[in-house]
Symmetry: C2
């Protein structure tokens, strides 16, 4: 009797060695067998988001990246600087899977009715290790896609939609009535615009180029401020006065922008202030940094009184804080409006092997607006027999 071979499939891995080298490879891993309450998903779409790039390439200097291996099994290596290695201390020597979210078809299911009900369905999934051909997950963790929705339609069902909804939810819970968003022409920014238009929420969009102003205006944005314009501070103050926004979500994180936003909020509030107070307006002004597109030091020229805060904002702790009922409500809205409010567009679809080619890395690692990539691991290999 021949020995049965365990079927394997590709999974992307990122490793930082103690010697200061990043290695990104495609590992052959056994295709897991789902437990009773689990399903096996064949992934057909996974976005390459800024939040994935951090784990994928760590603190490596991509200018030093080289690609070896074979076209089907590329091996990317790059140097990590000494300073970068300090930030990497927690992950050195661990071969880490990557990919926060994705979508695909349920090709095997455990015995439970919930798992069986998903067999053959397209589902969106969240939970890491999605840059792979297969992934098992608890059935309860799958979001079944509406009839007719492809894996590409559902690939970005969680991170961007829940982040955009989380911003609006944070606004309401913390007593603000309108929002500011930076890098606002992004996929996420466009979603946030559609949410705010639909819900009647004032939104001030900050972008860095005139073309992005045009893009946002074309989808109905009322307030778009170009940080590269000489009138930026005046424009932003006007938009803040018009909307009353006292909460901002900043994707750039570095440089002077967060402080400028707080300064303009204070100036907008002072247009209607009463008596002089040397402590400034008593209205709390808040900027959350949720990304790091600008890697410079964050410089805050504190000239906006004492009622202010700057802090980090991260989706998963936020979801934990608001609890399962609130999260279920947000997820239901995503499912209901998947092809409208929460539609994503991709510049290009690539296979696992293709995404590790140098010409590709350069493009998506730039994190440039309008150049989001969709990974489709189903393009790499014929699926093993039986699925």
């Amino acid at each position: 009797m021949p020995t049965e071979t365990v079927p394997t499939a590709l999974q992307l891995r990122s490793l930082v060695t103690p010697e200061g080298e990043l290695q990104v490879t495609l590992a052959s891993v056994p295709i897991p067998v789902p437990g009773d309450d689990e399903v096996l998903v064949r992934l057909e779409g996974a976005p390459i988001n800024p939040s994935d790039l951090g784990l994928l390439f760590g603190a490596a200097d991509l200018g030093t990246a080289t690609v070896a291996g074979t076209p089907a099994r590329p091996v990317v290596t790059a140097r990590v600087s000494e300073a970068g290695m300090k930030a990497m201390a927690g992950r050195v020597g661990q071969s880490l899977p990557v990919g926060n979210e994705g979508a695909g078809r349920v090709v095997r299911a455990g015995a439970s009715p919930a798992a069986q009900a998903l067999l053959g369905r397209n589902v969106a999934v969240l939970g890491g290790a999605m840059y792979a051909q297969y992934r098992t997950l608890p059935a309860a963790q799958c979001l079944p896609l509406p009839e007719g929705a492809t894996a590409a339609d559902g690939a970005s069902s969680f991170v961007n939609p829940l982040t955009a909804l989380g911003m609006v939810e944070t606004m309401r819970r913390e007593g603000h009535t309108a929002l500011v968003h930076t890098a606002a022409a992004s996929n996420l920014g466009q979603m946030l615009n559609r949410i705010c238009l639909k819900d009647g929420i004032g939104l001030v969009n900050i972008v860095r180029r005139p073309a992005q102003v045009a893009l946002l205006k074309s989808i109905g944005a009322a307030h778009v401020c170009d940080a590269s314009a000489p009138t930026f501070v005046q424009d932003l103050t006007d938009a803040l006065a018009a909307t009353g926004a006292t909460l901002a979500f900043d994707a750039t994180g570095g440089g002077p922008l967060a402080g400028q936003i707080l300064g303009c909020m204070e100036a907008a509030l002072n247009r209607t202030a009463g008596a002089y107070s040397r402590y400034g307006s008593t209205t709390h002004k808040q900027v959350y940094l949720y990304g790091r597109l600008d890697t410079r030091v964050t410089e805050v020229d504190v000239n906006f009184g004492m009622a202010w805060g700057i802090g980090g904002w991260l989706l998963f702790p936020f979801l934990e804080k608001i609890g399962p009922d609130a999260v279920a409500r947000l997820k239901q809205r995503v499912a209901d409006e998947l092809k409208t409010t929460f539609a994503s567009r991709y510049a290009r679809e690539v296979s696992l092997a293709e995404m590790l080619q140098p010409g590709m890395i350069e493009v998506y690692a730039r994190r440039a607006t309008g150049e989001k990539f969709l990974l489709n691991p189903a393009r790499d290999l014929t699926p093993p027999a039986g699925f």
Copy 2:
């Protein structure tokens, strides 16, 4: 019948003119007559705190200060830069009284029993305009000093004691268990040390000079880190690991210190971290900026994950937030421990006229530790007859 003259007394005023000049003068103002529920306090002590200097001198460049007038009625003038005038916009043309708090004797009282009960007592008072010889206030706003306590003993009964208690209260309300304090050898810092020693709270003191380390050690401080030492980052991380402090109150406000504290908190937390998370520790780390001893731009090198915040902290909004019952509890503790935990020391006592002499301004405007001045407006003039 002769016309009755209204008795007048001195009150310090600060004015910024539209032409960009600061003028600090001693005005003659009528001595107010207390209403039924009010008392008239003859002020005999008022601290010159950093929080007073902001209103007193505004954004003026004290390097340009000149003193004219007479020895008894000096007139200080100084230039306000164009940039400074932007911050002063709200107060231009308004002659503002100064002085957050003080203490003195109740020399007249309204008809109500509460007011009458204070007649002849030494009381501590809060509410602005204390750099004056007299002040009327609601009886309910006075804190009667314990038997034997002088006005000098009670002059700093509010701002520093309530700020120090407010830090501990904030720590408890926001779920932290230990504290960091900067410019920690200050009068306020010494109070905070006494509170924390008495209440068994871990406190990490950050100072800028070896002499301040010695001072704090001499009053029993367990953790004192000298920011001027080459081992500062290591020392601070060790102290944070030992105490578990994840909340800091920073009096300096500018430069890199707030960010360094957050970075060291994260490093201390990571000494006991479990699995790698590229988003850093999930423990919230907070720095409140409550002062501005360092006027540089605040520079934050965000290398401490996503669970962090920096914000302004101000005593009066904090007291409003916690409500009158909690405030009454804090005030009672101040009264009970006025000559122990909350004792203040002053380098020098000056009259209103003396505090406007150039040699004096230079010293107290430096905001240097150990050089706090006590203003005693009773030194300026013989009190009008009848008191």
